[in-house]
């Protein structure tokens, strides 16, 4: 097991009250596995990602739980202690390459900085490795001398991914790396990420709001709602038989370009403000199949034939009215 997250909670410490953005999240990740994390804005997916990478800054803080990476709990380590793990064993690809890359430094200089900061000082080694990773993502090494503005959006994202691979990490955490790209570039970047993963064997935690994007690439899928795990299971299974009404709603919110044109409904209402969390099930206000208990009882995660789901309708008790509603 590469990564084990256990009971992780993250609070934003505000003047009025603390807001819990990530609530008691647990999951594990094997070597070479691809985990997709999907959810809407404000569901806590980006906060979770920052917590995994120990990149949270005040007012956010980890309130409880552990992040065990290759046997060590990263929570509470100092930056100095973390620096031996960061980039070498675990790297992060940020959402917007335009903001994450330094605009006044060439790509090569930024690669050099990263390698030096994490202990590689030989010029030759830096030069050859930089050219190698850039080649891996399909960019000519001549671009080591280019500045970010001279690259297209797709190339910048590729350069970010190359940079994350400088030290052949075991885990790459990606925060919507394709969201600024259009469909064609998006598709080709996803295929390339998957190919790199196959050849190099690293594990990926991929955060996105677009679940159709990861549908063909991730091994397991975690759906988050209002800071909690709503559903976690094998990607294909989640797409074929979504258990949680929220997952179902998300899937039904995607128009298709094939098949008959059917009217879609989406999900009524909008995601809750985490400072005023609904009682009981956090989804009950928007849920089409909510029943009497939902506003009162907060559901726990239940194992339903290998898929974890947080919904009071599970475990299935075959009560007539509830299964009819499905």
């Amino acid at each position: 097991m590469l990564l084990e997250v256990s009971g992780l909670s993250v609070d934003y410490v505000l003047d009025r009250a603390d807001v819990r953005a990530v609530d008691n999240v647990s999951f594990t990740l094997d070597r070479g596995e691809f985990l997709g994390i999907v959810g809407e804005s404000g569901c806590g997916k980006s906060t979770l990602l920052f917590a995994l990478a120990q990149l949270l800054a005040p007012p956010a803080r980890i309130a409880a739980g552990s992040v065990t990476f290759k046997g060590d709990n990263l929570v509470g380590l100092t930056d100095r202690q973390l620096s031996s793990v960061r980039w070498r064993d675990m790297s992060v690809v940020m959402q917007s390459a335009m903001n994450a890359l330094n605009p006044v430094k060439s790509i090569g200089a930024q690669f050099r900085d990263a390698m030096r900061a994490h202990g590689t000082t030989s010029r030759d080694e830096i030069g050859s490795r930089s050219a190698e990773v850039l080649h891996m993502v399909g960019i000519d090494q001549a671009h080591l001398r280019s500045y970010p503005h001279q690259l297209s959006g797709g190339m910048r994202q590729r350069a970010m991914i190359a940079m994350a691979l400088l030290f052949t990490p075991d885990l790459v955490i990606m925060d919507e790396p394709t969201s600024a790209l259009d469909v064609v570039a998006q598709r080709s970047l996803m295929v390339q990420i998957k190919e790199l993963q196959r050849s190099l064997g690293f594990a990926i935690v991929f955060v996105t709001h677009d679940m159709s994007l990861v549908s063909h690439f991730s091994d397991r899928l975690m759906v988050m709602y209002a800071g909690q795990v709503a559903e976690l299971g094998a990607t294909r299974r989640v797409f074929d038989e979504p258990l949680h009404p929220y997952t179902r709603g998300l899937l039904e919110a995607f128009p298709s370009i094939r098949g008959p044109r059917v009217p879609l409904k989406g999900i009524p209402g909008s995601p809750p403000d985490l400072s005023v969390i609904p009682t009981g099930c956090r989804f009950h206000l928007r849920c089409p199949v909510a029943f009497e208990s939902c506003p009162q009882v907060a559901p726990e995660l239940t194992d339903e034939e290998g898929t974890l789901v947080r919904c009071l309708r599970y475990p299935q008790d075959h009560t007539e009215e509830r299964s009819v509603a499905l």
Binding site: G154, V183, V184, H209, L251, P271
Partner: protein, 348 residues
């Protein structure tokens, strides 16, 4: 809110609401001494009928937003003309002939824009009623203050917002609600054609459908036309009647959306359709992925602009710019497709 009915393509073409002919917009780039020109939109002609949603799709940099700005009169065309019709019998007045302030005001109230970012397009220091009331005051000066309030409440209800929302501040509304405010502002001026530039791309997936359904219901119940600018082909198919695919400042293919998507003839349309992620489809990671990039159209030479990425390009493609020509029910700008040969550049 009504669900979208299967749209019927307008078969008897009455006068189009808006007609663009040989529209071009070029930008000078570089320093004062530079002679380089970016051809953002090059010789584009299209029509938008009454009560029709036309989707304008393409990559970033393909010129789709420039077209919206040309239609909104934010930019003046470098060449070409836009005609706007005032009724079924009216063949259309060129925009360049609208010289009086009154004519321009009338045009901008009938052809309003709805912007991409609902967080940036509403003034945060005023209540959301501010924009609607201002628009009413400017465009419909005959209304009294009480009538303006009533009208604002009416358009809010049309877009699915409670009239009580008028007194809220933008920060109290969700993204989807704000975008509905954008449509309410557009309707307040008695819109006939709404220019919607990526109106749902910043919204959460679960909210998008509601907005798309709203667009369809505005068309079905009020007969409003919408130019829906998007890079999301699936959502375009959901609401639009016709599709215009842009590539590098020119139209690659256009026609009834079902026909174009079911059987795309331009290699670029095929690429676009094949790249759309479909969660319902079986897992397939095909080898033939295109890693090309959209070109910057600076001082273009003749020839098809897609030829550098096109796997089926022929000699003619680098010599002659293909014209948009009717092939079956759609128009295609591709030499191979026009020759009658089957185009299979990218399969989905």
């Amino acid at each position: 809110m009504t669900t979208p009915t299967t749209p019927t393509a307008p078969t008897t073409p009455t006068a189009p609401l808006l007609r663009a002919e040989h529209l071009s917009r070029h930008f000078k780039i570089g320093g004062a001494l530079s002679k380089r020109t970016l051809h953002a939109v090059d010789d584009v002609s299209f029509q938008i009928g009454p009560g029709e949603i036309v989707a304008l799709a393409g990559e970033s940099g393909s010129g789709k937003s420039t077209i919206a700005r040309l239609l909104a009169r934010v930019y003046q065309p470098t060449s070409g003309q836009i005609y706007f019709s005032q009724g079924e019998e009216d063949p259309g007045t060129p925009l360049s002939a609208m010289r009086t302030r009154r004519a321009r005001l009338r045009y901008s109230s009938e052809v309003p824009m709805v912007f991409q970012d609902p967080f940036a397009s509403i003034n945060p220091v005023f209540r959301v009623s501010h924009g609607v009331l201002r628009s009413l005051k400017l465009h419909r000066p005959e209304l009294s203050a009480a009538e303006r309030q009533a009208e604002a409440a009416r358009v809010f209800e049309v877009v699915g917002l409670d009239a009580g929302m008028l007194e809220r501040y933008p920060h109290e509304l969700s993204g989807g609600q704000r975008q509905r405010v954008g449509f309410a502002q557009a309707l307040a001026g008695r819109a006939r054609l709404i220019l919607a530039d990526e109106p749902v791309s910043m919204l959460d997936v679960s909210i998008r459908i509601g907005l798309l359904n709203l667009m369809a219901s505005l068309r079905d119940t009020m007969g409003v036309s919408i130019l829906y600018i998007t890079h999301d082909i699936a959502s375009a198919r959901y609401v639009a009647d016709r599709l215009i695919v842009m590539y590098a400042g020119q139209i690659a293919e256009s026609g009834p959306i079902e026909e174009v998507l079911a059987d795309p003839r331009h290699p670029y349309t095929q690429l676009l359709v094949s790249a759309v992620p479909d969660p319902r489809a079986a897992l397939s990671v095909d080898a033939e992925t295109d890693i090309g990039e959209p070109p910057k159209v600076i001082d273009p030479t003749p020839g098809c602009r897609f030829r550098f990425r096109c796997p089926i390009a022929i000699d003619q493609c680098s010599a002659v710019t293909p014209e948009l020509t009717l092939v079956g029910a759609r128009e295609v700008a591709c030499h191979v497709a026009q020759s009658g040969a089957e185009v299979k550049a990218f399969t989905s």
